[in-house]
């Protein structure tokens, strides 16, 4: 008997929450702002949903609307991804300068 997808993905979800819990507690408080901007960026992995929706062979009026809607989802998710990663990078560069100096 196969387990239902809900239970399958649910198990992964629960385990990932535990991983997140331990990983995030290990982040130094000094880097909490970059932590927020980077988690922000990776939560925009929802872009894969938008791409899948763009790339489906849909027909009819609702199919067309679906594509338009997902095109906008794609744009917003990209803003989130690029903005989030690059701003994180910018912040982390500032920490690099000092680490070098201290050595």
């Amino acid at each position: 008997m196969d387990i239902s997808p809900l239970v399958y993905y649910g198990s992964i979800f629960v385990l990932a929450i535990f991983i997140g819990y331990y990983v995030v507690w290990s982040v130094t408080p000094a880097l909490h702002t970059p932590l927020m901007s980077v988690t922000n960026a990776i939560s925009a992995v929802i872009i894969v949903g938008a791409i899948v929706a763009m790339g489906t062979e849909s027909t009819g009026v609702s199919g067309v609307i679906s594509k338009i809607v997902s095109f906008f989802a794609l744009i917003f998710a990209s803003i989130n991804i690029f903005g989030g990663f690059l701003v994180t990078q910018r912040m982390l560069e500032m920490y690099k300068k000092k680490v070098k100096k201290d050595v």
């Binding site: 997808p5 809900l6 993905y9 992964i12 979800f13 629960v14 990932a16 929450i17 997140g20 819990y21 130094t28 408080p29 000094a30 880097l31 909490h32 702002t33 970059p34 932590l35 927020m36 901007s37 980077v38 988690t39 922000n40 990776i42 939560s43 925009a44 992995v45 929802i46 872009i47 894969v48 949903g49 938008a50 899948v52 763009m54 790339g55 489906t56 062979e57 849909s58 609702s62 199919g63 679906s66 809607v69 794609l74 744009i75 917003f76 990209s78 803003i79 991804i81 690029f82 903005g83 989030g84 990663f85 690059l86 990078q89 912040m91 500032m94 920490y95 690099k96 000092k98 201290d102």
Partner: protein, 471 residues
């Protein structure tokens, strides 16, 4: 152009791999040395998820691929420009704005799935599967709350909207009413209503209203919690959509981000000694009236930049306590110059950072990093609090509530029980502030009237520059 390049199992495994990249990437933030490598790893995870998805599209006609690339180029350009332009001081707004994008795209993806369910394999016997329907509705709810809540947070942080809590009458009743309406509409959809698209739209609009209603009553001082909570919501919205689309990358990432935001909210709440519930219920900072109405008659010692320079020069150890006021005045660079001069004279200078200093977790650390302050000079509340008793000078610049002794001594105070930086124990307290006004929490600070306190009433940036030049 290319067809069924990968098996379903391979696709799932690669999504899992990108989830692993994200986990190790976040783990990199445990120290500034590994943080950049971690960020690159997270980027690779995202690139991997993207490539896997694009290689396995059902409709990979050239037109479609061009559209996808166009969408990403538009969004990518906007995102890149934003990330280059934003000032470090404005990072909380930036995160709120990006968060709203994430929430909005979750809503839109849920809509796309709802409009062409067959394409996502959500159909069973001519209807959308009930479990998928529930997931999409939840995705809409959480995504829309994230979106509108983040927009309000952005407006408040950007100063486009009053940051004081806005208390609507019957707001709790209103929220419960909206939530009930959402549940009722969801029930109708699940029961197989004919007008399901209209209901779906109504639910979206109601959810947006709910997000507004939740964040509007929350005051400026609680913004660090709000930002963290919304961050957490955006993660859970992604995870829920991941269930609908049976996508491992989304489920794993959403859970990670969700728990990250939740932990940060918890840390912020603890640092303010507030329960998570009371922050979410809002209204903090509206009790300005009571205590501050009484005209203050106690004497205040007000000093000039020269006085401050004299005191600082004769100290042997100084602890700097930066707060949001420093960020607003963009004083971090002039402060660093002042500190450098003091250090040249052999004075020991350290920085003490309260967890809720600034408008988001870790905000002060980023600003000091921008001004090139060495990482080793910066200490957390628990590391440095006992050092104040040995310090000659506590230099409070733009902080207020986090130093308020009422948190320890006055059970009537709204901030009673909040852990504070015990600057009062230093021999002299220099307090840079624009006026003798109350803090964000709307509470007067007893410290201003102490014997060992000298108030330096000026803009934080100007004051640091003036002190620098007279040292």
């Amino acid at each position: 152009m290319f067809n069924n390049l990968m098996s379903v199992d391979l696709i799932a495994s690669l999504y899992l791999l990108s989830g692993v990249f994200f986990i190790i990437g976040i783990r990199g933030l445990s120290s500034p040395e590994t943080a950049r490598a971690g960020n690159y790893l997270s980027m690779s995870g995202m690139a991997l998820a993207f490539i896997v998805t694009i290689l396995n599209l059902e409709d990979n006609s050239l037109v479609n691929l061009i559209l996808i690339i166009a969408g990403i180029s538009i969004g990518g350009t906007i995102g890149t420009i934003l990330s280059k332009r934003v000032a470090m001081t404005d990072m909380p707004q930036m995160v709120a704005a990006l968060n709203s994008m994430g929430g909005l795209s979750a809503v839109l993806v849920a809509w796309a799935a709802f409009l062409s369910p067959a394409a996502f394999g959500l159909m069973t016997g001519g209807y959308i599967k009930a479990s998928s329907m529930v997931e999409m509705l939840l995705g809409i709810l959480v995504g829309a709350v994230t979106f509108s809540g983040s927009v309000v947070a952005f407006l408040k942080l950007q100063g486009l909207m009053k940051s004081a809590p806005i208390i609507l009458p019957f707001r709790h009743v209103l929220s419960i009413g909206i939530l009930s309406a959402i549940l009722f509409c969801s029930y109708l959809i699940l029961a197989g209503s004919e007008i399901d698209q209209l209901l779906f739209l109504i639910i979206s609009i109601l959810s947006l209203a709910l997000g507004l209603l939740l964040i509007i009553p929350i005051g400026g001082a609680d913004m660090p919690v709000v930002i963290a909570v919304l961050n957490s919501y955006s993660g859970f919205a992604a995870a829920i959509i991941g269930f609908t689309l049976s996508n491992l990358a989304l489920v794993i990432t959403g859970a990670l981000v969700g728990s990250s935001g939740a932990i940060l909210s918890y840390i912020m709440c603890t640092a303010m000694n507030r329960s998570f519930f009371s922050v979410i219920m809002g209204g903090f900072g509206d009790e300005v009236g009571g205590s501050s109405d009484a005209k203050e008659t106690r004497p205040v010692k007000i000093g000039s930049a020269d006085d401050a320079a004299f005191i600082l020069k004769n100290a042997s150890s100084v602890i700097i306590v930066p707060g949001y006021g420093m960020a607003v005045a963009r004083a971090q660079n002039s402060l660093k110059e002042m500190v450098d001069k003091l250090k040249e004279m052999g004075i020991k200078v350290t920085y003490a950072i309260h967890p809720v200093a600034g408008r988001m977790p870790g905000h002060m650390n980023v600003l000091l990093a921008e001004a090139d302050v060495p990482y080793d000079d910066i200490f957390e509340l628990s590391e440095i609090n006992s050092d104040f008793a040995q310090a000659d000078v506590a230099f409070v610049i733009g902080a207020n509530d986090v130093t308020n002794p009422a948190a320890k001594s006055d059970p009537q105070s709204p901030i009673f029980g909040m852990p504070i930086l015990e600057v009062e124990n230093a021999k002299t307290v220099l307090f840079v502030k624009r006026s003798l006004g109350i803090g964000y929490a709307g509470i007067g600070n007893d410290l201003f009237y102490r014997e060992n306190t000298m108030m330096l009433l000026d803009d934080a940036k100007k004051m640091s520059e003036d002190i620098s030049s007279s040292i």
